[in-house]
Subunit: 614 residues, 2 copies
């Protein structure tokens, strides 16, 4: 069992569920209707009254008790609830949630969703009826559809809904919130969880089936084939795959998911209207009641991918994220050097600003393939692969093939923990791959300098960590020598430094702001390289510092600061990300990892005044 | 282009090809027939005569010149040549080579194999005939079949054949030796290389097709599905997949490769007798001359997996490798604790000694799946996944899912660089995964201690590096506390140590032998943990050493020694594996990485006498 998402045990000491939701719900007030605000206050009052009276077995049990105490329903249609949740949140995967909504409703109607008092996976019935099947939700981001549906069915209060993505309710499927499985970030993992469960039920001699709710995009992932092939060959005829077939991953699919392929490995494949709850329920019931497994392809619709509030009429256009500048920068490179580019991305063209900038090949949600496609291209072609840093984690073998057998390989590794799921260690792992060097540019000049370095050293694959954050580029950068360190805010005069902070990539932007805003004047070295090559005289100077701090918005373990300690035996204290990922938006992420300029200013002040780096 | 496999440029200074093959060919003498020995001496003489006279464009061109100078053929049948190569080598993938031999012959007959003077991939013909197709060999270990066939066709001398796996000729497909592609270790990579090439040919507007020669086992890998799905959806109708369908990966397949599946994604699938060269050539020609791509399933036969010489009648049975003791040790655990085990392996049951020891599920060559199958099992079940350390590298995302969402996860990571392809960094990467600890036990007691540690700390996944080497267990070990360090050969009396060596896992066995054999008496600390927890007093004692060395048979980068430097700022010199993997047997590996007891004794002597750790 994973650690509970509640900050304290339900009903026991600590903030509990009420503590978790109260503050973010109140913070949402400016975006609430008067009725919503009123109901939330009622719910909070009832919640306080209920608290301590009894200890429900599950978080959902507690929520159901609150919902029962305030039975008024503001909305009867869960689609409307989903819209309000996303309007209040201002972000999220609204369209994904809508796309699957009829499928989710059908699962409720068939009794596949555990009731509020039930722990998913604790059922022991062995009968063949639909109600005793297990549901594994592979579409990780559609948890809100389940909450919206629970709301209209009267077992979920409104308060948590107003805290989505705002440090209250998370949008990702988690075992603590009524799901059989927990999603993290590997695409296609839901099908693996379902096959694991089907295998175990079979081993226990149990007859119930496993329903896996998956998206058509994620069926591009190689792991899903491994699962289907194994289920077929191992004779697991208790697996029913329900596909939300909306024709989109993040970008449109090249082709619909193959019914023939699914039918071959699952024994049968049926199609149904995925916008019609009754049709889905009927087809699914037939498959659950009949012999064997199968695939149910539900034709649905998805308009966009990420939810965006319409901009205020007089608002200036938002600054682009640094990651989206990659496309125009690559186009500039192509123009300046005349180099042929081959750009591959697993559905992430928009994130890297590729459309209308450079030609690219979308490989779908198949990251190992995007690396594989670089393997046989001409040496002189610059091969660019662009996806989220964490998505490379299931392709590091293939990446090694590419780094050791190709030339001119540029790996763009998107980074935005939380919004994408994140992985604090991913860049450190990428850096460990044979024949690679990792950088995190934060200015256009640094990006171009990294690419120039690649052209000069084509046998080394260059991994560029591309942050999704929107920020003002620092005045100075490492573009002159991307392997070196540069003083931000001016080089200190004194030969002997009292204290110093040395930063990696984006953390340099945050530290510079903290240093500036706080008027702290801590000497600040900025590096674009994860493993910078420091001048020996500089190392000596650093070694003589009274207090030395490194900061990286990156996993400490195996990261920038630890590398400096290991290579140079520098007695610095590494500050960076030490905890596991959390699902929340960028600003909240920063605060959780002690990376807000305010938190950093405190670190710098302590460094300067007390010499306390730790 | 990768670094050439020749130790110096062909025809230029350095040892060149003759230098590469002469010594290992002479070393093979005791295993040669008199005729073979005679021909080799003739070839070497002609080779010396040719050397310096002209510089052939390719290594194969040079070999062809030697073959032309000594035209006598000892064998006319390449199957006989293959047998002799493996008898002389004493190891290798003889059965895999035999299984594909008719397919290889057909490729020669159809003109798909570049001639000795041609650089593969340098063809510029655009005609549709079979001869202008490109061949990508995905079965990485069947390079010997091509050499044997070149030998009987008169363009390859005998000398290199006598050096297979013995530091001369390697058995793995490499671009420098007449192949279009280079194989390293990712299974299924050949198909990715073929699709990459097909994509690039299409982009260039070229009409020629790509033939990919693959095994049925590797089609279990998820990447092969990603490739086929993409080729289909991207309209790449220039891909012809020839499958050596022998019904075996390393172990027998559960089911034959699916003709329906391949036919769906490749447009057509034909079957033929893979033991009949003419039948293969005929079917393949039809597919190459006709429109579109396709799959050709060739029914073949494979008896075993690894080649083993019959043991001498009076030889004692060889000591089992440490890795093969895993099965019996797990059985003991099950017996002692009554724990339910669920064991998954990707075709590597024999390597870990699982058969007749514990029940296990063979997932085929689908490592991500073997991790995926752990995801939904009961908490108390001990989940064991067993495969080669390097094969996890394409599954680290899925491993993170498992380490963060399951309990009682035991990851066995086989290690034997060279024989399996290896990856010097793999254990260091596994150690970086959220929620893991890595160990390298070298005694049964250490293995059991690691498992006990897992049972006491079930939320942490325990990665056990399992070495394939055969060795005598050291007298002392870390079983008492697997996280600590223990003195091997006795604790030193003096509080102040002059010098000290600290080792990780299997390197401790090698260093102990070096220390003992050389009578060196260097104080020696042995650790089973990649990140040991050292007593602060011990750290202080080590810090005061005049000279400090760490030794690990593991990648230095991000490894044991660097970790000690980083965590404790210990001024030690890490000795370990710094170069990339090489394809050679264990003993040769050790010598390449400075890990033979003799090389280690030199390091220890220098440490003691000169204080030179580096």
């Amino acid at each position: 069992m994973t650690a509970p998402v509640t900050s304290g045990p339900v009903g026991a000491g600590g903030p509990g569920l009420l503590g978790r939701f109260e503050e973010p719900a109140r913070a949402a007030r400016p975006r609430l209707t008067p009725d919503e605000a009123r109901v939330i206050e009622q719910e909070l009052a009832e919640w306080r009254r209920l608290e301590g009276r009894y200890a429900p077995a599950t978080p959902l049990g507690e929520l159901a008790a609150v919902a029962a105490a305030v039975p008024e329903r503001l909305y009867r249609d869960s689609a409307k609830v989903l819209l309000r949740m996303h309007e209040i949140a201002g972000s999220g995967n609204h369209q994904s949630c809508l796309s699957s909504l009829s499928l989710v409703r059908a699962c409720f109607d068939l009794g596949l969703v555990p009731g509020p008092g039930e722990r998913a996976g604790q059922r022991d019935g062995a009968g063949p009826s639909a109600g005793s099947a297990e549901l594994v939700v592979g579409r990780g981001h559609i948890a809100p559809s389940f909450y919206a549906e629970r709301y209209v069915r009267g077992t979920f209060p409104f308060t948590p809904l107003a805290t989505l993505h705002r440090d209250g309710l998370t949008g990702v499927v988690h075992r603590d919130w009524g799901f059989r499985n927990t999603m993290r970030y590997s695409l296609g993992v839901g099908l693996a969880q379902a096959v694991s469960l089907a295998w175990d039920l079979r081993r226990q001699g149990l007859r119930r089936k496993v329903v896996c709710l998956a998206g058509d995009g994620e069926l591009h992932e190689g792991i899903t084939f491994e699962c289907l092939r194994f289920a077929h060959e191992a004779g697991l005829d208790n697996l029913v795959l329900v596909v939300d077939s909306n024709g989109k991953g993040i970008e449109p699919l090249r082709a619909p998911v193959s019914r023939e392929y699914l039918s071959h490995y699952l024994g049968q494949a049926a199609e149904t209207d995925g916008l019609d709850t009754e049709a889905v329920a009927k087809s699914l019931r037939v498959m659950l009641d009949g012999p064997g497994g199968g695939a149910l392809l539900c034709a649905t619709r998805k308009e966009g991918h990420s939810f965006k509030l319409p901009p205020a009429p007089d608002a200036p256009p938002p600054r682009p994220s640094f990651a989206t500048t990659a496309g125009p920068l690559l186009a500039g490179l192509q123009k300046d050097t005349g180099r042929r580019l081959a750009v591959f991305t697993g559905d992430m063209a928009a994130r890297f600003g590729l459309p209308n900038a450079v030609p690219y090949e979308n490989t779908g949600l198949a990251e190992t393939l995007s690396l594989g496609l670089t393997l046989s291209l001409p040496e002189e072609t610059v091969k660019v692969v662009a996806t989220d840093a964490m998505y490379y984690m299931d392709s590091l073998g293939m990446l090694t093939e590419a780094t050791t057998s190709t030339r001119h390989l540029l790996v763009l590794a998107g980074r935005s923990w939380g919004a994408w799921g994140g992985a604090t260690n991913s860049l450190n792992l990428l850096d460990q791959i044979t024949g690679t060097r990792a950088y995190e540019p934060v200015t256009a000049a640094e990006f171009r300098s990294c690419v120039r370095r690649l052209l000069a050293d084509p046998a080394t694959a260059h991994v560029l960590s591309m942050v999704d954050a929107r920020f003002t580029a620092p005045g100075e950068d490492c573009a002159g020598d991307v392997d070196a360190a540069v003083w931000l805010g001016g080089a200190p005069d004194a030969a002997d430094l009292d204290c110093c902070v040395i930063t990696f990539g984006y953390a340099g932007v945050l530290v510079a702001q903290a240093n500036r805003d706080g008027g702290l004047g801590v000497p600040h070295l900025h590096c674009a390289a994860l493993r910078p090559e420091l001048d020996p005289a500089l190392v000596e100077r650093l070694r003589r510092c009274r207090a030395l701090l490194s900061v990286e918005y990156n996993g400490v373990s195996g990261g920038f600061g630890e590398g400096l300690r290991s290579r140079h035996l520098l007695p610095l204290t590494p500050h960076g990300v030490r905890s596991d990922i959390r699902n929340c938006v960028h600003d909240t992420q920063l605060s959780r990892h002690g990376m807000t300029p305010r938190a950093l200013a405190e670190r710098l002040r302590a460094l300067r005044e007390d010499g306390a780096a730790g």
